[in-house]
Symmetry: C2
Subunit: 422 residues, 2 copies
Amino acid sequence: MRIRYYNAKILTMKTLDITAGELWTEDDKISYVGEGKPSDKPFDREIDICGNLLMPSFKNCHTHSAMVFLRSLADDLPLQDWLFNQVFPREAKLNGRRVYWFTRAAILEYLTSGVTAAFDMYFYPDDYAAACIDSGFRSVMCGGVCGDDKAEDLEDRFVKFNKLHPLIGYRLGMHSEYLSPIELIRDVSALAKKYSAPVFMHNSETKKEVDECFGRYGVSPTALFDREGIFDYGGGGFHCVWFDDRDFEIFRKRKLWAVTNPASNLKLSSGVAPVCRFLEENIGVSIGTDGAASNNCLDMFREMFLVTALQKLQTGDASACPADEVLKMATVNGAYTMGLDNCDTLETGKQADIIEIDLSQPNMRPQHNTVKNIVYSGCKSNVKMTVCAGRILYRNGEFFVGEPQEKIYENAETEVRMLLTE
Amino acid sequence: MRIRYYNAKILTMKTLDITAGELWTEDDKISYVGEGKPSDKPFDREIDICGNLLMPSFKNCHTHSAMVFLRSLADDLPLQDWLFNQVFPREAKLNGRRVYWFTRAAILEYLTSGVTAAFDMYFYPDDYAAACIDSGFRSVMCGGVCGDDKAEDLEDRFVKFNKLHPLIGYRLGMHSEYLSPIELIRDVSALAKKYSAPVFMHNSETKKEVDECFGRYGVSPTALFDREGIFDYGGGGFHCVWFDDRDFEIFRKRKLWAVTNPASNLKLSSGVAPVCRFLEENIGVSIGTDGAASNNCLDMFREMFLVTALQKLQTGDASACPADEVLKMATVNGAYTMGLDNCDTLETGKQADIIEIDLSQPNMRPQHNTVKNIVYSGCKSNVKMTVCAGRILYRNGEFFVGEPQEKIYENAETEVRMLLTE
């Protein structure tokens, strides 16, 4: 399948320059980006971009996709009540079929926000992977072992899902220090060594979590993981709100990724991640929405604005954390965090993970600075098209994900009703 | 003109219950809200709402609409540099024609976010009012006298604009304590008494502003205004970030409105308004976007999420500032702040200022709690229709504002280019 997108503005994210031109795709890859030239082969489809912007899609670097079933079911509650009385008892009623349909619903929402890849930690990985593959959506799954889980199961999944399908990847991971016993942490560390693989987990999301880790081990979660060899081959953490000097040093030395989740951190009153300090220390930052039970929407535009706005608040400096950096976090850095080194920029040979931003809408005008417009006034209503691995999955409000939107919702909502009445 | 909107869910905001039914309008007013009944007169138009939600439109309670011309022109700069080197020199080049076209562009953006009324403080009021009237958009203008301005001019405008057109109102106001000399403050106070009228102004936006007022007068801006009789007939303040106990007491006793502007306060690193304390003290809170130079978008959904999320952060309590309260602030309270007592709820006889929220989109599903969905996961892409004074101004992405969207932008952008090259 050869598609020509012409009459476009193009932001490759290799640089932040915007040029006029066209972009071609062949199957899942970009085959040309430039001013335009004659083609020696015919196109299957030619699409007029009407002067709008083509840019790399967003990469959602921390989420629990299937949690959309809990959206707005339990908000405005204290954290402990929310987690133990609302979330956990309902999650106990999940099954593979439910995770499949809830994930398919979440993917629709990702596509409206220009997201083509999610770094997802949740239950029922086979069903999750099937939902992504059936939708044409890319995902890197993150292991979330905890409690009595066995490292062998993590290894089985790591091996299985990394060879399952071109759209699916898997990274070693555990839930967190507070839910993962030290023996499990050591077993995961052994896997990291065996496969020279990076490891990810929830890390220092709340002050309580860090204080309790100091109580248990005498060090922070980051220092504990480092001491146990978890980070010997890289990786990173989700949230990374409560960091001390030593944690920054470990992240910098080990080249770890700090994945920030500002909306979730606000809504659960966890705090504000020290993003400016990460930037100063040359620690890579990427962005995630977290799950819809704690956010409550899967919208990278809201996250991007919050990343910079909260830094401006926290540092007292309106020039802190400029828009250019934030757009890199949401695109290029997100790809690298997940190990998707071929989904970062718009260049020949790269994966065709592309969005079209409608520049004609009121919030994108005037066009003094397109990057700043996207970060400071952008909104998912500006996402006119979302392309993943060369396939147009969303365009002009319509989905092309193998099943009609209504069928996906009918199935998902039937499962929600059943789950809530069991 | 009689319009029937049927097959709707209806949130009147008189209560937070959502019922199924229909809503009729006759010219600028709502003529019926209920389950449906036979009509003795024919309708000019009948619109199937397809199970979506009709609710009162949003009221933007603090803005400088024409500032859209500065969007993304000067971000990521320290506040003083931004204001004195970027904003003021460019505002000096405004004229009536420019304010007219920039305001018309801003109104398009308001409509996409479900806003039908703006409480606007800016220059060239005749041209601003003309832009609103020509668009069919409601506005209450707020006086912004400062420096050498004369109170007589404020009085002339107050009298003139309050009888100009049903869509236009005018409230007494001054820019702020720091830009308005004490003689002017006293003259405005005399006008408040003469007309038994409320007065509004920027108030306690930054700590510097409050500290300097204490230096000049020995009291806070709020206490100064109160001492000078400015609040004898009510009113309120924009921003209201840096309040002390006495300020809260004055706002409570005088029944003043605290208009919060969270995105602007973050982006200019001004702080977080004490919204929970306002609620505890039964002080009325409404919401504004501020101008597009400091926000940068005119989007009430972003503001609503920030209002509650920042309170959850600041109080350390995830149950703080619940969604119900926030939705009231953005609708009913907004109308009352501007004195639009007839634009608050969906009831027979009220002004037909109505929006349709698309409940079929991914971020609105499942429908566990529609109010929480709107506040926590809502987005302007959910605004399917915006009706002001009975006229459909926006529906399915199309504008009906007397001029084609492209002509408005062509004129606005020509004026921006001329202004920047002069």
